[in-house]
Amino acid sequence: MSDATFLGMPPFPEAARTAVKDSRLRYNLRKATHTIRDKRAHVVDEMGDDWARLRTEGAAVKTHTLRHLDRYLEQLEASVSRAGGHVHWASDAAEANRIVTALVKATGETDVVKVKSMATQEIELNNALAAEGITAYETDLAELIVQLGNDLPSHILVPAIHLGRAQIREIFLEQMAEWGTPAPPGLTDDPRALAEAARAHLRERFLRTRTAISGANFAVADSGTLVVLESEGNGRMCLTLPQTLISVVGIEKIVPTWDDLEVFMQLLPRSSTGERMNPYTSTWTGVTPGDGPQEFHLVLLDNGRTDVLADTVGRQALRCIRCSACLNTCPVYERTGGHSYGSVYPGPIGAILTPQLRGMGSEVEESLPYASSLCGACYEVCPVAIDIPEVLVHLREEVAEGHGHLGEKTLMAGAEAVFSSSTALGAVQRAAGLGRTLVPRHLPGLAGAWTDTRDVPDVPAESFRRWWNEREREEGR
């Protein structure tokens, strides 16, 4: 029923060109990102100086964990197994999908309910399950909207952020019946009515389905505890009512000890939804007899993460706790939306994570490090202090050192030649000054990207350097 994929999307500038012209998308994104930006600012400000301390600690805990990841992974496996869970290891998406499919098949079920999970989006698990005759039902409201609309997620926290209420109403009216309980005929576009329709649509599904798939926000190595933060209660439904729970978790989600949650349970909700605390957080350790799923599987996913880990500059991207504050604050994301990034990880974090996870394999990945004006707003709001601009520049080096862009290489070499001596620079300035009246209003080629919308400043007759030297001469210095 759903086969949407990011495969074959155009590189960022091309996708963005279409997106910036979509006025409805621009309106939806502007409204949503500004709302959440303001909420976040309010709840972060009220933390005073402690925010900076928590941010430093959050970064330090994650950095430490990554530097000893092998040890913590083994510790996590031991703790989860001790508590009655089963641990599986998956090197890549295909292996993870095979493991999950086999586990579902072993339960004999053909329907599974899912809690919103970036890892399963990344490996396109739903498509893999569908190919084996298993239907995965997304239960997070935004994921449900995306699934019903046969659309793609465009945001880490709110995958349907690109859609407005009227569009959501249309999708519900047209598609809900095909997937289960239909939308009420008189459905309005009031968010309350839409939320109520989602409740009614999924209620029976929750009460009936015996297998669930989730991700996790944190996996605690010493206790073997998994943590899921959510708002709607769909997470609790999936984590509590079914008989079997399968959690697909990236290997970077580990924190060493339970006490580390003192830090992250303060950083994440405020950065993410802009709330002091999200409505529901569930934590579970293996299996609790008589309470919740009696069979628990943890699938630890690499899928490129060890490649990211190998890059000493890029490694910091693995600290990410998927709050999406960087998306909400990014002026580029606000104007292009998430689909332009060609990945489930859009926005600034996506621009550094996607090319590292996938490798610089195609034009899409090579375009992503440039999808930023390097304004630094993302770094400022990041709760684990990932220096996204630093990594962007680092990845640009990788592109430039590879086959890069020939025209650009020539330009950069030319510019360096001019800047390699003040005499050369002076000569170019004199030539530009003489030819200044010849500059047309619209330029061809790359420069046209400037002059399409912006005038070029007048080139002055005399550079500063020349003025200075004249002055020195006149003053007889």
């Binding site: 330090a60 290891w89 409740r199 003192e262």
Partner: protein, 213 residues
């Protein structure tokens, strides 16, 4: 080579720059505050819960039963689910029909769904964030009982309330299944507007039991 061995080998290779003798034990980096001193604990908790659109009442310890009866009457709830060991005095004289759930004798989800609500205690509450934590203790029960019914009445004693998240985390036992509840279920997925009431209980009512003076 198994996937586990392969992944661990890749991790170790990726970390070639990390000195072999770098200590695993982290220096205690607890610079963050335990409490942000935002005000009298019970008042702050009440304020935050109201902010989340929960219904809140404060009561002296000797009036808990009456307040529960009043809340259930307002709600029109007649058959409510209770965990295995709710304090007897909470329900004495309410005359209401209780459905007791336990790990050994669980109610079905259909029975939970058909009930008028659930009454529980809690393990810990965190004032600053308006959070109530359930840990499956005898006065809280299985996770499903506070999830499926549409109405949750939760009794929080003053001595269970801490100021901030760090204090709360330290009091909790990760081996137990925990549910942190901060208001009724909600979503902000439509244009980032918060709407209360999705899949979890749409009404959360909290009785704050004041300490005897």
């Amino acid at each position: 080579m198994s996937a586990k061995e392969a992944i661990l080998a890749r991790v170790r290779a990726a970390l070639a720059d990390v000195p072999a003798d770098e200590p695993l034990e982290r220096a205690p980096d607890r610079a963050h505050l335990d409490s942000h001193g935002v005000g009298p604990t019970l008042d702050v908790l009440e304020d935050r819960l109201i902010d989340y659109k929960a219904l809140v009442h404060r009561t002296p310890a000797d009036r808990v039963g009456e307040e529960i009866a009043a809340a259930l009457a307002r709600r029109g709830a007649r058959r409510v689910v209770v965990p295995p060991a709710l304090p007897g005095e909470w329900l004495a004289g309410t005359g209401i029909e209780t459905l007791t759930d336990s790990r050994e004798e669980p109610l079905t989800v259909r029975e939970l769904d058909a009930s008028d609500g659930v009454i529980t205690g809690c393990a810990v509450a965190i004032a600053e964030t308006g959070t109530i934590v359930l840990d499956g203790g005898p006065d809280q029960g299985r996770r499903a009982i506070t999830l499926v019914p549409d109405y949750h009445l939760c009794v929080v004693r003053a001595d269970q309330v801490v100021d901030g998240v760090p204090q709360g985390v330290r009091l909790l036992d990760p081996a137990r299944p925990l549910t942190w509840i901060s208001g009724p279920s909600a979503t902000s997925d439509i244009e980032l507007n918060r709407v209360e009431g999705v899949h979890g209980p749409r009404t959360l009512e909290v009785l704050l039991v004041e300490a005897a003076t």
